[in-house]
């Protein structure tokens, strides 16, 4: 594997995760439990889609096959997608959305903190920009973890169920292969083992503070690195890609 191939693959992992979780959040538009939350989730969705746009544009440039960020977003099938399994999980109830976002926000908070130091200038610049936004995302989900976890009996139970259900997808966050090995060596990407330590510590602190229990699930499903997804991604992509596939090259 060449450095160029590894970089392209890595950028797809970052960009696809942002795009898919951004799209998931956008599904809340007009359906939020209260107006302020509706607005908050859509603002966060916008940050993710903005991040995906800049990362996928760079991926297309690295690939050098004259594709654009839109080609990458709208003209690939699910097996070509490299987003984390966690990001494609359905919104469910509000506790499920908050649990998914919280687990992912802690991950991106520590990951992007390291990517700011990447030896690839473009990745470092995008990460510096995004990390400021991620800090706000994490604060938002952390507050909701406390509010729901330490809230009513029902909100507590719903959040606990959501954490238990989503826990099996957290192993996938830290899966590494030859792409990571090559980029770690070049100082472009961080070692996910280190991110995992920081992630586990922070997640546990918040879960305990929110009066919740750490999930006991030990089964971990992986596969996003090879494009092996859960059944949910295909449906999401079908909806997301409908317009550009049906009316190619349409302009506003």
């Amino acid at each position: 594997m060449t450095l160029q191939q590894a970089k392209f693959e890595y950028l797809l992992r970052l960009g696809d995760s942002s795009l898919i979780i951004g799209h998931r959040l956008s599904e809340w538009c007009g359906h939020g439990p209260i107006l302020e939350e509706d607005i908050a989730l859509i603002n966060i969705a916008l940050d993710f889609v903005g991040n995906a746009t800049s990362i996928l544009a760079y991926a297309a440039q690295v690939e050098g096959k004259e594709r654009t960020e839109d080609d990458l977003a709208y003209m690939r099938n699910e097996r070509d997608y490299r987003n984390l399994l966690l990001t494609e999980q359905p919104n469910g109830d509000y506790a499920t959305t908050i649990a998914r976002q919280f687990l992912y926000d802690v991950y991106t908070f520590f990951l992007y903190e390291e990517l700011k130091k990447s030896k690839d200038d473009t990745i470092a610049a995008i990460a510096t920009k995004s990390h400021k936004e991620i800090t706000y995302h994490l604060r938002h989900t952390t507050e909701w973890m406390y509010r729901l976890g330490d809230g009513t009996e029902e909100s507590h139970q719903r959040l606990q169920n959501a954490l238990n259900d989503l826990w099996m997808f957290t192993g996938d966050l830290f899966d590494m292969d030859e792409v990571d090995a090559l980029l770690i060596k070049e100082g472009i990407a961080p070692d996910l083992e280190k991110i995992k330590e920081a992630w586990e510590k922070h997640v546990k602190e918040v879960i305990i503070e929110a009066t919740l229990q750490m999930p006991a699930t030990t089964i971990k499903q992986t596969g996003s690195r090879e494009g092996r997804h859960t059944e949910h991604l295909g449906y999401l992509i079908a909806e997301m890609q409908y317009i550009p596939r049906s009316y190619p090259n349409t302009k506003w």
Partner: protein
């Protein structure tokens, strides 16, 4: 006038007439979005940076710049989007902050942002209408990506706060 002789100052002064699409009381130079202008006599390269990664106003700002330059005969403009150095509220100067306040948006109160936002500790934000310091945050996310939603306990008015980033 021969268009090839425009100076950087002339171009900057012209571009300073372009307001931010969502906060029309301040222009894109005051907001710190415009980073550079270069005119070599045939091509004008304008460098801009987004406030937030997904700021939907960037495309509109790009078009506004092209239209503005066309007015003085520059038809060949390339608008480049850069991410580094990352935009920060520190680039909004005091005069622009005062314009924001007069418009009803509480300006960013502090230097950049700090990790206190992770622990949930809130900082004092003054009401742009009655100057009261007794205000509370309703939501960290407001009408646009760069603003949070606050409420004044004294005059009861809700208001936008330009959040520090």
């Amino acid at each position: 006038m021969n268009i090839s002789t425009y100076s950087k100052e002339q171009l900057l002064s012209l571009i300073s007439e372009i307001p931010d699409p969502e906060i029309p009381v301040i222009n894109i130079i005051e907001l710190g979005i415009l980073r550079d202008v270069n005119w070599d006599g045939t091509l004008c390269t304008v460098t801009i940076t987004p406030t937030y990664s997904g700021c939907p106003a960037m495309k509109m700002i790009e078009n506004d710049i092209k239209i503005k330059l066309k007015e003085i005969g520059i038809n060949n403009t390339h608008v480049e989007l850069v991410y580094s150095p990352a935009w920060t509220t520190d680039w909004i100067n005091d005069a622009a902050k005062e314009k924001l306040r007069a418009y009803g948006i509480a300006p960013p109160e502090y230097i950049s942002f700090d990790k206190r936002i992770l622990t949930g500790k809130q900082r004092e934000v003054k009401c742009p209408r009655c100057d009261s310091k007794t205000t509370e945050m309703i939501s960290q996310f407001g009408s646009t990506a760069c603003k949070a939603l606050y409420r004044c306990i004294d005059c009861k008015e809700p208001f936008d706060y330009f959040k520090c980033i």
